[in-house]
Symmetry: C2
Subunit: 179 residues, 2 copies
C-alpha cells in the first residue's frame, strides 16, 4: 500500500515556496491549510527523513555552533517534479469526518434537547471558523492582483461558502427539532 502518504505532497508543496524546518512545516499546516488538512510531528519528521533518502528534499544546517540545532529542508528538482505530478493527477480523496453528524444520526432515542445542544456547539465552531476565514479573505482581496495569492484565496472562499451552508443547516435543524 506504500506511497499513499499524502503528507509528502503537503510538505513538498510548502517547500516549493521556501526552505523550512520540520517545526515550521507543522506551523504552516496548522495555519492556512489547517481547516482542510492536518499534520503532526509524528508524520512530518519521518516523512522528511524518507524523502531525503529518496532525493526529493535536501537537508542542511544542524551545526550546533550557530545556536540551536535546526535543520532546513530544500526541495530538489526530483521533489518538484513529484509535486507537479501529484497536482496534475486527477484522483483526489475528499472526506468529511463529522462526529457531530454521527451524534445527530444516532440521537433519535435521546431527548431532542441533546441534539439541539450538539448542533449549538457545532454552530459555534462554524461561526468562529467563518469569522477567521472572513478576515483572511479581506486581507487577501487587498493584494489579489499584485501577488501570487489567488489559489490561497480560492481555498478561503471554499471555507466561507461551506461554513455559511453549515450555519443555514443549523438554523433549519434546530427549528425542526424544536417542533
Amino acid at each position: 500500500m506504500a506511497k499513499d502518504r499524502k503528507i509528502d505532497a503537503v510538505i513538498l508543496g510548502l517547500l516549493s515556496h521556501e526552505d523550512l524546518t520540520g517545526y515550521e512545516i507543522k506551523k504552516r499546516i496548522d495555519g492556512a491549510i489547517g481547516f482542510f488538512w492536518k499534520g503532526s510531528f509524528g508524520n512530518i519528521y519521518p516523512a522528511l527523513n524518507d524523502m531525503e533518502k529518496q532525493g526529493l528534499v535536501e537537508k542542511s544546517g544542524g551545526d550546533k555552533s550557530s545556536g540551536r540545532e535546526k535543520f532546513f529542508y530544500h526541495i530538489t528538482k526530483k521533489g518538484s517534479d513529484a509535486l507537479n505530478d501529484w497536482i496534475a493527477d486527477e484522483h483526489a480523496v475528499n472526506e468529511l469526518k463529522y462526529e457531530t453528524l454521527l451524534k445527530i444520526y444516532f440521537g433519535g432515542a435521546a431527548d431532542s434537547s441533546v441534539s439541539v445542544r450538539n448542533i449549538e456547539v457545532f454552530e459555534e465552531q462554524a461561526r468562529q471558523n467563518l469569522s477567521i476565514l472572513n478576515v483572511f479573505k479581506e486581507n487577501l482581496e487587498k493584494v489579489l492582483d499584485t501577488g501570487d495569492h489567488l489559489h490561497y484565496y480560492l481555498t478561503v472562499t471554499f471555507g466561507i461558502e461551506t461554513y455559511e451552508a453549515y450555519l443555514r443547516w443549523c438554523d433549519k435543524a434546530k427549528k425542526i427539532l424544536s417542533k
Copy 2:
C-alpha cells in the same frame, strides 16, 4: 490515549436498532452514514472483540451446523449507557480532509487549466453525491411523520446543503481561474 476509538460509538449506535454481524455493520456504515464517516473490517472486527470483552456487546451464533459461520452482536445495557454518554458529550471532532483543496492551494505554479480540471472532477463527485442524497430526502419525506427517521433526515439535509455550497464554489472558482 486509549478510548478515543470512535468506531465503537458507531457500532453501538447501529446495534441500538438491531442485532448485526460485522459484515452487516460495514454495509450500514458504507450506506447512509458513509458520506460523513468511514469504517473498515480492519477496525470493525477488532472493536467488536474488545467491546465484547468490556461487556458492551454480546456475541451469539457461530454454529456452523446451520450453514455459514456467522456471529450476531447484540448491545447490552452497559453498551447502551456508553452510547448515550457519548451522544450527550458535547465534545465532537469535526474535520475535513480534502485533497482537492490541497491541489488547489499548491496549484499556483502550474497552469491554471490543471486547477480547473481538479475542480471539475470535484464538481462531478459533488453532483453525484447530491443527486443520491436528494433521492434519500424524497423517500424520507414520505415517511417523516410516521417513523423514527427525523434524525436521518437531518443528516441528509446537511449533506444536501453542503454539496450545494460546493457546487456554487466550483462555479465561482472556475470563473475566477479562467480570467
